[in-house]
Amino acid sequence: MSTIEVNGRTVQADAGEMLLTVLRREGIYVPTLCHMEDMLPTGACRLCVVEVEGIPGLVPSCAFPVSEGQKIQTHSPRAVRARKTIIELLLANHPDDCLYCARNGECDLQDMSSELGVRQRRYSGAHWEPKLDLSSVSIVRDPAKCILCGRCVRVCEEVQSVAAIDFTGRGTDSRVAPAFGAGLNVSNCVDCGQCIRVCPTGALTEQSRFKNIFDAIHNPDKVVVVQHAPAVSVTIGEQFGLKTGTDAAGVLNATLRRLGFDYVFDTSFSADLTVLEEGSELLDRIKNGGTLPMFTSCCPAWVDFVELEYPDMIGHLSSCKSPQQMLGAVTKRWWSKKMGLEPEKIFMVSIMPCTAKKFEAQLPEMMHEGLVDVDAVITTRELARIIRLRGLDLANMTPVEADNPFGERSSSGKLFGASGGVMEAAVRTAHFMVTGKELKMPRLQAVRGLDGIKEAKIDVGGIEVGVAAVSGLANARKLVEDIKAGRKDIHFIEFMACPGGCINGGGQPIRADHDAVKARMQALYNIDKDAPVRYAHDNEYLKKLYDEFLGEPLSERSHELLHTTYGRRQAEY
């Protein structure tokens, strides 16, 4: 323990701790742009500078270790002036189009210039109008708005081990871009959207197209059906002033109806369906000597990563489509019949915590008899924008249930929204399938929480099954390498590209820190704790779907509609 003095106040800190960490803990705000939680500081942006007695220059607090007796001024006139100048320089060639920017009102640069009292353009940099990169189906890059903080580069490389983008050129020619300045679509980007989540400005956003959705809603010939993913109900509230970690499922359903959707379904239903199909596939592989360990396939960014980086491991991927696609398929093929509707008349919109789902939905292998499973995908953030556009206040709706049959769900399906949740749900059902009995302890603590790699050994009717849940693609790479090197004690691995799972997905509300992600996760655990139906195999409408249409898991019809195939992919610069 050391004692330091900050702004005349005595503060305790661990020697060697970074000053910024201490300041944050003490509730003392200094702005930062390049700083990232849980990562080594780069000291690139210099916004976090403070004055330390005895040191002539200003020091960046994010990269300054504290030691006994230091006297620090965080808001001396000199420090504040320096910060203001930095912001003014960043604004020198920044486009003045906040009004039209997707990040208007949620932009760090905007906030900081306002906090620091920037009221005029003091510097004017060379004007340049780089091209928007609209090549990706999920991600838009606007280099004009990039302030070169490097956060996206670090997330893509250090957290995702993809490194689709990097700094190119130098000096005034520095840019962040894929190799050869190419479009993201030809790079090795896996559409995870983590770069959007960390970008402080509007330089990275999702591909946003609403028009076809509104057209469908206003088209009397279309039946417009919406599904919302398990992780959406526990984050959408943040955009409407609800406490982080509030489950807003009821008001979300109500809002979606008010937006004009004819039917509101819950993707957690098809998460339950995935549990049955994937659980059966696992047992089948174990029984019949199939490829093990089996990898989950519900995260399209992860699947994309395997196809690009580990094509030799494709055989490990479960053949199950993701819940989003499964719900689209059963809506168009089964529900439509029950409703006496032509499948062509159904327009399926899904609301996802994810940008990669946009990519997934348009893959040719997701077509069935000329029809896509899902017609349009929007992120949680985009939904919030639409709701505001229509002048609705989500927080003040009267909660309603989603529509049956696909409004019914077990809390297992809901758990899909957090890393470890798919595993937990699958283990519950696999145990039941093998033993005919429910687990004594449905809660699988070992795969809960925010750790990147979580492992457990589970006794399923006398067979010891090794399972793991991994989130973040750099962690995924680690475990895949272990397996390639011969690790044999794991049979089933859940992979999610986004750290912590879909609750921290690339399409989720921006600016969630560690605590916020934890709160979102806890919200899902709370739903599970109190749920009347906790097992996927107890979902009544799911049983009906099997009785009336699919037969049994892995049936021919299941294979046709709910399973898919994969293939090697390559960046095509």
Partner: protein, 171 residues
């Protein structure tokens, strides 16, 4: 492209008839510290860093292509377009600078419609800026495939280029 068309003097770094694969086989360790030496060797052998060679280097070192490209673009010694039939080097050393080499460079860029490091559409000229060429007495100096042009005034640039254009036409 026949090798005689391309400058083979030391300043350009004599392209010899080797392939990227040959170069990579000389750096068999797959050592990431070799990145810059490898890029230099590839450029020396093939005249520039093509997409294919950047990708090959990335594969060889097991590095993401974005990293290799990022490093390569950081240094202005690397060029990403093949050399033209005539490779122009503009000296921007101190003596040439004092004698007005900036204006010479501007005039070259304007006439050829390329930036430094680039090659004209007709593949006739490529433009490179070099630090002192070691011919300060001739300042401002440009070298075209190793032939030195001394005391170049901006308004002489067009005439000099035309000499090479004619030469190209007459084979």
């Amino acid at each position: 492209m026949s090798t005689t068309d391309v400058s083979t003097n030391d300043i350009v770094g004599a392209p010899v008839a080797t392939t990227v694969e040959d170069v990579l086989s000389r750096f068999s360790g797959g050592n990431r510290e070799d990145l810059i030496p490898i890029l230099q060797a590839v450029q020396n052998s093939t005249g520039h860093l093509s997409r294919e060679s950047v990708l090959a280097v990335a594969r060889h070192l097991n590095l993401p292509p974005s990293k290799v490209y990022g490093v390569a673009t950081f240094y202005n010694q690397f060029r990403f377009q093949p050399l033209g039939k005539y490779h122009i080097q503009v000296c921007r050393g101190t003596a040439c600078h004092v004698k007005g080499s900036a204006a010479v460079l501007e005039s070259l860029k304007r006439i050829l419609k390329v930036e430094e490091g680039q090659t004209t559409k007709d593949k006739l000229f490529s433009l490179e800026v070099v630090a002192c060429i070691g011919a300060c007495g001739l300042a401002p100096v440009i070298s075209i495939n190793g032939e030195f042009h001394a005391g170049v005034a901006p308004d002489r640039v067009a005439g000099i280029l035309n000499v090479y254009r004619r030469r190209a036409k007459n084979g």
